[in-house]
């Protein structure tokens, strides 16, 4: 029962974090197509883990789990600062999305090639890296995500004034003379680190960061404003994700559990198609 509870809390935290990150990135870029996956952060996390895995398997390097995690956090903090600096200059989201698309294609292809070669030579390979799950979650994995969630909510409390004025658009923010750079940097760095930790600990959850905030906005923004999207929507999305994982856990297929990341990937990508249809893309 204890293990199941840890798993439930972990999946709730991950779902809420993905919703919060997506909401922030879409607010910052003022674009519904922005998310950690579409700007390439998920792919970079996968690439980083693949590099470490290859070094471990091919060169026999033994880097402890905590060492890999800490080194990755440092790299993704730097990466978050870099993205933040980029957005402070002439921010062109279309270019960033194109770069993200290129990264996703590159890492997807590299992952498949690596998988083929590793399995051909009978090496161990993290086959479920792209489709995350919470099967082996323990307290060691739970603590970092709880800390990240607390940091996110603490950031929301601290920077709420800046977030709210920025949500009215960059023109009004400039008119008010409010400096949003510190707020942007905080959340971009936190999102960069969060997505790395989620992929590192549980694997990828493609498209959820894109679809969940759109759901929150559609359901809760009109009635409760920005707090409805970030807080109510974030928590409800977390619960929905937790329940989806519970379904995967409770109903194995031929004795095997479907990774919740696989299920959410299918639902998320379908959701993206529906969103694009609703936006009259075609």
């Amino acid at each position: 029962m204890f293990e199941e509870s840890v798993r439930l809390v972990a999946s709730f935290c991950a779902g809420t974090l993905m919703s919060l990150m997506g909401s922030f990135i879409q607010l910052r870029s003022q674009n519904i197509l922005a998310s950690t996956s579409t700007v390439g952060l998920d792919s970079l996390s996968v690439l980083w883990i693949l590099i470490f895995h290859s070094l471990t398997v091919l060169l026999g390097m033994t880097i402890p789990f905590s060492g890999q995690l800490i080194l990755g956090i440092v790299v993704f903090v730097i990466f978050g600062i870099y993205i933040s600096k980029l957005t402070e200059k002439k921010f062109n989201l279309q270019k960033l999305l194109l770069l993200g698309l290129a990264l996703n294609l590159f890492v997807g292809a590299l992952y498949s090639l690596w998988q083929f070669l590793f399995l051909a030579f009978n090496f161990d390979f993290p086959t479920e890296l792209l489709f995350g799950h919470f099967r082996f979650v323990s307290l060691n994995e739970l603590f970092p995500v709880i800390i990240l969630l607390i940091l996110f909510f603490a950031g929301l409390k601290k920077y709420w004034r800046e977030i709210e004025i920025f949500s009215t658009g960059p023109e009004i923010t400039r008119l008010a003379g409010i400096n949003h750079q510190k707020m942007s940097r905080f959340f971009l760095v936190l999102s960069s680190v969060t997505i790395f930790i989620l992929v590192f600990l549980f694997g990828g959850f493609a498209f959820l960061g894109l679809v969940l905030p759109i759901l929150s906005r559609g359901l809760w923004f009109r009635r409760f404003g920005l707090k409805g999207e970030f807080v109510i929507g974030g928590i409800i999305n977390g619960i929905m994700f937790m329940l989806t994982d519970l379904v995967c856990y409770s109903f194995p297929i031929v004795g095997a559990e479907i990774p919740v990341g696989l299920l959410s990937g299918v639902v998320g990508s379908l959701g993206l198609i529906l969103i694009l249809r609703r936006a009259h893309v075609w």
């Binding site: 003022q30 674009n31 009215t168 658009g169 023109e171 009004i172 400039r174 008119l175 920005l226």
Partner: protein, 192 residues
């Protein structure tokens, strides 16, 4: 008040050597042909020279969260900008008749209404220097007149810079007019 700009790479293909002398009690008008760099000059002044510059840009207000005008007004007030005047915001809100459409969302606004919203918010932030880029765009004659009455009060306490092509609506106000021109690939200004 003097603003001196000496920049070799003001634009990718153009340097800038300008000395602007701003006066109070006058509208400091800046003119120049399309594409010469008037808006770039305004952004440059905002970015490099003063923390206490209000710049009301030419670009209309865009919306991602489609809010009602009254919500935007309340968020703006709650943001507590430096040198903010609630009295000015309420005055402009009324004279531009924004109260009448305060339940409208941003995407429903016409070009003129969007411009009025931008002017009402921007002119309520009373920094030392206030730069307004093409304030009369999309405005009808009645609103231009109301704006000129407000500017007439504003120039008494602030350095007001207006970038405008068609400035006949400002003819009742005292003016100081700088004309931008290019000489040897350098943006320069002369007072006329």
């Amino acid at each position: 008040m003097n603003i001196i700009i000496n920049e070799k790479k003001f634009l990718p293909h153009r340097a800038c050597h300008i000395s602007l002398i701003l006066d109070k009690n006058k509208v400091n008008l800046i003119k120049g042909v399309n594409g010469i760099g008037k808006s770039t000059l305004a952004s440059f002044i905002k970015e490099h020279f003063f923390d206490d510059v209000t710049l009301i840009e030419q670009t209309p207000i865009r919306h991602f969260y489609n809010r009602q005008l009254i919500d935007i007004k309340n968020i703006f007030i709650n943001a507590r900008p430096d040198h903010f005047s609630l009295e000015s915001l309420n005055y402009l809100w009324n004279v531009f008749e924004l109260e009448r459409i305060s339940q409208h969302v941003v995407h429903q606004l016409s070009g003129g209404e969007n411009q009025c919203l931008k002017l009402a918010l921007g002119l309520s932030v009373k920094n030392k220097v206030i730069i307004i880029d093409e304030p009369s765009q999309y405005l009808d004659d009645g609103r231009k007149e109301k704006l000129s009455i407000f500017l007439n009060e504003l120039i008494k306490e602030h350095y007001v810079v207006v970038i405008e092509h068609e400035s006949s609506w400002l003819s009742t106000l005292p003016q100081k007019r700088a004309e931008l021109y290019i000489e040897k690939d350098t943006l320069q200004a002369k007072y006329v």
